[in-house]
Symmetry: C2
Subunit: 143 residues, 2 copies
DNA sequence: AAGAGTATGTCAGGATACTGACATGGGTCA
DNA sequence: TGACCCATGTCAGTATCCTGACATACTCTT
């Protein structure tokens, strides 16, 4: 009858894996007082300093309104800084503070351990294969 | 400095793919007046009739409280039925009505098209490889 | 047989993210 | 240059999902 067949559906398996990873990350970040979006924002800023609110939102898969609320909290807690006035246009480039880098360091190792657990059943070749296949999924859906 | 490297992180790519699929499914289900959880619940019931509220919640990756709210709406709209009293224990087995089956049929083809788009860049062998790798991720994280 | 432990359905309250809307700044094209 | 279009930051209101809690029913162990 042309159904989706949950057991063999790549979409369902993708959701299963994503959900399992989400739960595992939540579990290791909670003791550190961080949420996944909180951590993702810091990680993104560490690798691409000066990102704007909207760019951070896209990189962490939330709306720019949600990211704005988070950034205000992070700024209040002294983890990130934003200039008072925009250097150009309305874009406010955000950077990590020293405290932000310290908090990221502890979280980053915990998250890395989770990812290594997730990949522990695959050979390096299979891991590369997986990266390639996931990128293909994204490319076709974005098209 | 041992960071996560977003560009090559399998976890990040997994989130990207999952998010892209989520958006694509939302886009095709919205015109039909359905959410993803709504559709997933119907699809699950179609393949495994008689599932309980808690089982449906686990299968759609939400809490049983959220699924309970959804089931009450689906029951009100005549898409599913639950017995007045539990045949055994507290478990209320849920089944699709004819109207539920009709609604699922239209959604199912739309969702199948999205999944085919997502897989359109892979050979059948690669699709099987992907299923195997995703299952491995889940298995290692559940452990 | 009885108690502990576990799973279920459901209610209430709170946290989180999203949609809608607005003003502002830049880029493009006629 | 000016009109149009698009992106950004931000405010408010809403929707959605989750956490906490409780009563009930089954299972397993002693």
């Amino acid at each position: 009858m042309g159904q989706v067949e949950l057991d063999t559906s790549v979409g369902y398996l993708l959701k299963m894996a994503s959900s399992a990873l989400h739960n595992a990350m939540e579990a290791v970040l909670r003791p550190l007082g961080m949420t996944i979006t909180h951590y993702s924002c810091l990680e993104l800023l560490s690798q691409r300093p000066g990102l704007s609110n909207s760019e951070l939102a896209r990189g962490t898969f939330v709306t720019r309104q949600s990211m704005n609320v988070l950034l205000q909290a992070l700024e209040r807690d002294g983890l990130v800084t934003r200039p008072e006035r925009a250097p150009s246009g309305r874009v406010l480039p955000t950077t990590l503070t020293e405290a932000g880098r310290r908090q990221l360091a502890s979280a980053s190792s915990a998250v890395r351990a989770v990812e290594e657990t997730m990949l522990s059943g695959m050979s390096p070749d299979e891991q590369n294969q997986m990266r390639r296949l996931l990128r293909s999924c994204v490319d076709e859906l974005i098209r």
